[in-house]
Symmetry: C2
Subunit: 412 residues, 2 copies
């Protein structure tokens, strides 16, 4: 099917969505949650076909992410119920300006319109992404991967039924059934219908979308996060935070991938090494690091730029805060960066001068997360500066308008 | 010169700019203003060469926009002094979140980084755009038209000297000397160096940038603005506002280009016609309009979509608020739209359902302007929903970051 038809339908649905009241949206979210549970057999049957088809072709880890079971469906339903509990961002009075001529200018939050999401294998994204876009009054077009297409279509059927029965247009949620590369490319060119395109997946997918899209994009998720251990760092805190940031969960974008260590902290470095060794983490450092930790491998230029997402960390030794900031700014992916120091002035400089969405003083980078920030939701973590930066909650998928109330004012 | 070299220099300058304190930026803005006046002969000499070269090729109106004189240079200087008086947006605490685990999350405003601006003949944009970008802590690359290149280079030389003497990098402001189409296209592809590209000029320029740029763009300025006269409109107010919106200044984006009139308002329509006729405004309407005003020409489909920027207005007659909203949403350029009505509920529906940056109840669309909104500055009027919408002041050319203050927190 011509994707422009989906675009046109979404655009039409988005007009009704923008005007939909909060209670109606919440009741549809709840009945969609109920329907996912009630019709779970229908979803699991289609998912079994996806899993069967993928079995020979993908890794066990990917097969696990693709597979649904009753518990995962309960999780999707719970997710929609939680979104129903969040405050509705639409209509929020962001700012009120009263002008000397009597005009009242109200800056109010609005939906963005139509959001496209291109994502990879996990079918639960289908329900999650729908829920967030719907709550913020947007229509959404979801283009998942071919692995999960039967599951995605089944989930969409259930949710679309719930939207239609609730009295809003089912086309507020559409799934692209064509999962070829061409369909992704076509979405990237649908500037007339899409107000935003969010890629969720690996670095390759994100790069391709950023380079090819004429629709505005939010770049998400790649995190080469650093922990800088300053000369005045509390040694135990440095050990704890580094260990947590590197090892608490390794395959995620807010995990630490690199340490920068002040040359006066050799003892702390040794303690960190001992702690990381217990977790089987490989160390790759420069010459000075290797003179302190003989077991460290030599770090290449490539190591400093790498998001390992696994049991490895690079280490750079520096002689000053300036050198540390320069190193971090050179290799940062603008996600999350931390300084461990007891010195407030040095912390301030790091926080101001490091160019990343989230900059930490004496805390683990693992907190970069919409839930940990108290947003109650997360549609991704933006690593760009335009429109939204850092963990994105519902507000990140809204816009605003100015409503100006007068009593006959004209311009002189 | 390879534009990437300008990009690289701007990127480097943007790091220092982000850390520059308010007083230093303000004192440089003031000394740049002084230098423009002190070195006015140098600028006027180069401008005379531009004017001489353009004389045979452009309209008198364009020649007037291109020409500088002492008064216009004083105006540029005054503009920079006014920008120095504005609050510095950088560092502003937008939001503070205190988490149960003791983390303090400060959402603070930051510069965007490097901003590119592509603009047409007026050389004063060179100083204005520099001033706004500089105050908000950004580096800027200005690519003006070939007509004004000598003037732009002269203005830039004066300003760059002032920046350098003040102790910030002169490369915070650069002018592209190559004014071929290729240089504009190259800027549109400089994603590695530019954080934002703003086209300022006619609809053709804006479309070309939106379609070709891989750098984030803010679409500005095209305004097919409507005045809807509802059945309960105060007749005198409707006449005043329509007359003001259409005729107070015709060549601007917030001028009215179209009227939508409820079928019960024939008398008001006649009064408006009488007022517009005095100003020599041509009317183009549908059959029903023409049955009331015999002198009106027939409006084509094209008329309803047109930004006349001159003495002409299209008129559509409708039987309901729904029909009015539908018509406006079909032809809107998402700039400014107004309803004239005494009925609050009907006004509310128009304000909510019309998809435009600025929606007015009983006031002229001519107020869509950064100064009229009290922003103290304006870098353009965004007609898109992404990042910034409506009149853009200093905040529109900023981003934000999260500074997270801890005392050893790790994620469980």
């Amino acid at each position: 099917m011509d994707l422009n038809i989906l675009g046109k339908r979404a655009k039409e649905a988005s007009v009704k969505m923008a005007a939909a009241d909060t209670e109606l949206k919440n009741s549809i979210l709840r009945s969609a949650a109920d329907a996912l549970i009630a019709r779970r057999e229908e979803i699991l049957k289609e998912n079994a076909l996806d899993v069967e088809a993928a079995r020979e072709q993908v890794s066990p880890a990917m097969l696990d992410r693709l597979s649904l079971d009753e518990k995962k469906i309960m999780g999707m339903a719970e997710g929609l119920n939680e979104i129903a509990e969040l405050n509705d961002p639409v209509g929020e009075l962001i700012e009120e300006i009263r002008r000397p001529n009597g005009l009242i200018i109200e800056k109010r939050r609005t939906p963005l319109g139509v959001i496209g999401i291109i994502y990879e294998s996990r079918p639960n994204v289908t329900a999650d992404a729908f829920g967030l876009c719907f709550k913020a009054g947007n229509a959404v077009i979801l283009r998942g991967g071919s692995d999960a297409i039967r599951s995605n279509v089944a989930i969409a059927r259930v949710i679309r039924d719930a939207i239609g029965e609730g009295g809003l247009p089912a086309d507020a949620m559409q799934v692209v059934e064509d999962t070829t590369r061409e369909s992704a490319k076509e979405l990237m060119r649908m500037k007339d219908y899409l107000d935003l395109l969010i890629p969720r997946g690996g670095a390759g997918l994100i790069r391709s979308v950023v380079e090819n899209s004429t629709v505005p994009v939010i770049e998400t998720g790649v995190g080469n996060c650093h922990i800088y251990i300053d000369e005045s760092a509390d040694s135990d805190m440095a050990v704890n935070i580094t260990l947590n940031a590197k090892t608490q969960r390794m395959g995620v974008c807010n995990a630490a991938e690199s340490m920068v260590v002040h040359s006066s902290c050799a003892d702390t470095l040794k303690k960190i090494y001992a702690a990381l060794r217990e977790k089987n983490i490989e160390l790759r450092g420069d010459e000075r690091v290797r003179s302190i930790i003989a077991e460290a491998l030599a770090a290449t230029e490539e190591d400093y730029g790498k998001e390992y997402l696994g049991p490895c960390i690079s280490i750079k030794m520096v002689d000053s805060l300036d050198e540390a900031i320069e190193h971090v700014n050179r290799y940062t992916t603008h996600h999350s960066e931390a300084i461990i120091t007891a010195d407030r002035d040095r912390a301030e400089r790091f926080l101001k001068e490091v160019d990343a969405a989230c900059v930490y003083w004496n805390a683990s980078t693992r907190f970069t997360d919409g839930f940990e920030f108290g947003f109650g939701a997360e549609i991704g973590i933006s690593t760009q500066k335009f429109h939204a930066r850092g963990p994105m909650g519902l507000n990140a998928i809204t816009s605003y308008k100015y409503e100006i109330l007068g009593n006959g004012q004209i311009r002189e």
